[in-house]
Amino acid sequence: MGKKSVADFIITENIPLNKDNYLIRLKSPESLPPIKPGQFVNIDIKNSSEIFLRRPFSVFETDYKNNSISIIVKVLGRGSKKLTEVKAGEVLSLVYPLGKHFTYPSPGDKVLAVGGGSGLAPMLFLARESGLPAENMDIIIGARSATDHIDASAYNKYGNIYFTTEDGTLGTRGLVTHHPLFGELANYDKIYACGPEGMMKAVAREAKKTGVFCEVSLENLMACGFGVCLCCIEPTVNGNLCVCTEGPVFNINDLKWQI
């Protein structure tokens, strides 16, 4: 594990992406260490009597020139709500960088990345960082309805983006696994997924059937985020492992999911 820090980042931007997703960009006071897709930061959401612990968020973008990172926050409860109310100029304390990143695809690999809900950020980060040509990278983004989707067109240059919606208002109707690409899974060398547990399990089920390499990023509840409390554990073939240090990225073959 590399060196970890606690630092006061300055908010430089807070951009609403849709009704409950926000892009927050933060600038580090110190020079940014290498951060890779799947790694996360743990944020102290101040000024609330209801929030005691930090909240973990995946890194979405890194900008080493400006020592800045961004995250995408989906409003879920009191902490994420409060976080999306921050204004440029305010300061947030981050513990970072945390967790292990996704296994990078090898040159020539054909990749499928599946993101939903708050799991979108690491998938897009991975698409950008993968080093693969766009034609080798398929990205499925799932949501309930068209209005729950965010504009990901800036990422077209990193891959082919497909949408699914449960109500059919954008892209394929149904869950991510109803997308036609899931009919041709054997074409892929690597599958990655991040999002609600149900979605990741569905993806894992399909990947397992075809035997394709598949990594998922878990969002277990965390207290510390750096491996000391043992609250975030996930049962694996190697015993109960901490999602915050041994994950959040796991190969589905290591998990004990009933799928």
Binding site: F52, R54, C224, L230, C231, I233
Partner: protein, 303 residues
């Protein structure tokens, strides 16, 4: 800089700020943030004779100014620790203390005897107050006979500094403290967590897999402080205080109440640097109040 050193029986601490068991892993995780040799001491994650998987997920719930945990002493057992972890951490220049656990008196002795052989472990903390295990743990710590039995047995198997960690889930904690003092404990540490519970009103389910868990953090500080004060008056051996310490003022309150040193637990989850800030804060306080040594604070409550 004032003299921050304190003594807990044979243990000489460079300052009175230590890390609480179960909240700082095996010290390595904190050492990724800063050099842990700056700390007064480190109480390692609780160890049992053999591997324990701990309780099922979910194991934690946030509560007002605190949290519940139901980890259940997940650890790989004393042998694994000695072979794999101890060699990596034994040269940290701060006392490493092993938190000893068991389901039976025999299990406590089993761990203790093995720890007794480790040159770089100058003390043990006998955990008779874990609320998250079905057998042993708190069951020993909530009655005088139970506390006496474990302490007596472990004392006879251990010749370095023996600290007994007390449960706050009792009617009179000073009785238990006196009982373990009577059996040869060299110090007591308190408090462990309070048994609490959280429910999700919407799903109507408990938030912890185990229904109940241990409450820690600032919420418990007023009760912990009172217990430390009571125990410090009841026993002659040193008292190590903890429960919700978040900053130097909190730590100083525990010292004033009679603790010779403090442990920082849940605060680490918010910010692993808090213990270092506390050391600095105590030093500033002593300067501001024209005191030359932290020992002037211990038990210094003005009634």
């Amino acid at each position: 800089m004032a003299d921050l050193s304190v003594k807990i029986h044979d243990l000489l601490l460079k300052n009175p700020v230590m890390l609480a068991s179960g909240t700082c892993g095996y010290a390595e995780e904190i050492n990724e943030f800063y050099d842990v040799s700056q700390l007064g001491g480190i109480f390692l994650k609780g160890i049992t004779p053999r591997n324990r998987d701990g309780n099922l997920y979910p194991r934690m719930a946030e509560t007002p100014s605190g949290m519940l945990n139901a980890v259940g002493l997940q650890n790989k057992g004393i042998d694994y620790f000695i072979q794999n972890i101890y060699p990596r951490i034994k040269n940290y220049e701060t006392p490493l203390i092993i938190n000893v656990n068991g389901s039976t008196v025999e299990e406590y002795i089993e761990v203790t005897e093995k720890v007794n052989e480790l040159d770089n472990i100058p003390a043990i903390e006998l955990n008779i107050s874990c609320p998250n295990v079905k057998e042993g743990g708190m069951a020993f710590g909530v009655s005088c006979p139970g506390a006496e039995a474990v302490t007596r047995a472990v004392r006879s198997a251990y010749n370095k500094t023996l600290i007994v960690k007390l449960s706050p889930n009792v009617t009179d904690v000073s009785e238990i403290a006196k009982a373990v003092e009577g059996q040869g404990a060299d110090g007591v540490s308190l408090v462990n967590t309070f048994v609490g519970m959280a429910i999700d009103a919407e799903t109507r389910k408990p938030l912890l897999s185990t229904v109940t868990g241990g409450l820690s953090g600032p919420a418990i500080k007023p009760i912990a402080l009172r217990m430390v004060w009571q125990v410090a008056q009841a026993v002659k051996i040193p008292v190590i205080g903890m429960g919700g310490i978040m900053n130097a003022a909190d730590a100083i309150e525990f010292l004033l109440a009679g603790a010779s040193a403090v442990q920082v637990g849940t605060a680490l989850f918010k910010d692993p640097f808090i213990p270092l800030n506390i050391v600095e804060g105590i030093d500033n306080y002593l300067l501001r109040h024209q005191m030359s040594s932290v020992s002037e604070l211990i038990g210094g409550l003005q009634l």
